[in-house]
């Protein structure tokens, strides 16, 4: 599934966006299938709660399609959608009264790295620890690291999503990585 998502990224959104603008449900569905993973990762990065993140993704897509007439195409559809997702996630975070942290048990499964089960177990533990440490970073650092590594966004795109300059996104990323390395040592 991860490889499929990368292949999908090479196909432009433009034609789908134009069809979705006129209310074509098939085009809307295609855009959802293409970008819901990235939106979920962003929502999870902000809310740190899997259930809340799913609600946020749903609300973000509904809002995005409702506002598609106002989408001028200055940014890509993906970064525009992700910026809406960030805003929705921040709103959900403010509303949430009961916080359920994504702990080690909530970490996604790690792909088996080799034939040695013991080595795979160590890798899984280290990955879970790294994700747990990532949760400790300030929001913009956390999101910059997540968008850069998980979604492969450029620093310009990250800046558009988190509402900062390209340079600030770059600084947030490198500060986040440096802090993570310190925490992991």
């Amino acid at each position: 599934m991860k490889d499929d998502r990368r292949l999908d990224d090479d196909v432009p959104d433009g034609p789908w966006v134009e069809r979705a603008r006129s209310g074509d449900p098939a085009a809307q569905g295609a855009l959802v299938r293409r970008h819901h993973g990235a939106a979920y990762a962003v929502a999870l990065s902000v809310t740190r709660d899997q259930d809340t993140a799913q609600d946020v993704v749903q609300d973000a897509f509904v809002k995005a399609f409702g506002a598609l007439d106002g989408f001028r195409g200055d940014a890509s559809f993906k970064t525009w959608l992700l910026s809406i997702t960030v805003n929705e996630a921040r709103g959900a975070l403010r509303k949430r009264t009961r916080r359920r942290e994504v702990g080690l048990e909530g970490a996604p499964p790690v792909a088996a790295g080799g034939p040695d089960p013991a080595e795979a177990a160590v890798m899984a533990e280290e990955a879970a620890r790294a994700r747990s440490m990532l949760e400790r970073l300030p929001e913009k650092q956390r999101m910059s690291v997540s968008l850069r590594i998980d979604q492969g966004l450029s620093f310009r795109e990250i800046g558009e999503v988190i509402g900062s300059s390209e340079g600030a996104a770059r600084v947030n990323y490198f500060h986040g990585i440096r802090r993570l390395r310190e925490l992991m040592e």
Partner: protein
């Protein structure tokens, strides 16, 4: 990829090869680097402990990245479709609301300005106290939905309402 080209042309934040390599690591672990850059990274990390440690960290994060739950896309598509059909309400949806309003109006006007029964008086009081509200899609909250009814069914409903109203023909 634009960042990668920028990294080559303008150097990294620190201006050295370590900085460039570290900037490329996310693309490297995702298999998105072009052959030349990939060779540069692989050659560099062999002799640089700091960059190799960072590569390990980036790789750990990439391999454990969050996957959306399997059913999420379908759930979102359902919500989007539902919302779209609510926004593009067919003309008879508006007609149904108008029919309801007309029917209610008949009940009101048949007895002058008041309702003709105790239930009607209570309803009038609710209106006065503002206990009805309009939902996002313009329908009265709590009102019955007429979606899906044919014109014939709506006319039958209207006739029933007229007959059942205090001043109706029945």
């Amino acid at each position: 990829m634009s960042d990668l080209r920028a990294g080559v042309a303008h150097g990294s934040p620190s201006g050295d090869l370590c900085g460039s390599v570290r900037e490329w690591l996310p693309q490297h672990v995702a298999g998105r680097l072009e052959a030349e850059a990939r060779a540069t990274v692989e050659g560099h990390v062999v002799g640089c402990d700091a960059c190799r440690a960072e590569l390990d960290l980036v790789n750990l994060l990439y391999e454990s990245r969050a996957e959306a739950p399997a059913q999420l896309a379908d759930r979102v598509i359902d919500a989007v479709t539902q919302r779209s059909s609510a926004v593009r309400r067919p003309w008879w949806g508006l007609s149904a609301a108008a029919v309801a309003a007309i029917a209610l109006g008949i009940g009101i006007t048949s007895e002058g300005t008041s309702f003709g029964s105790a239930e009607g008086d209570a309803l009038a009081t609710e209106f006065e106290e503002g206990e009805f509200w309009v939902s996002d899609d313009g329908m009265l909250a709590g009102a019955p939905s007429f979606d899906g009814l044919s014109d014939e069914a709506l006319l039958e409903l209207l006739e029933e309402l007229v007959e059942e109203s205090p001043g109706g023909s029945a």
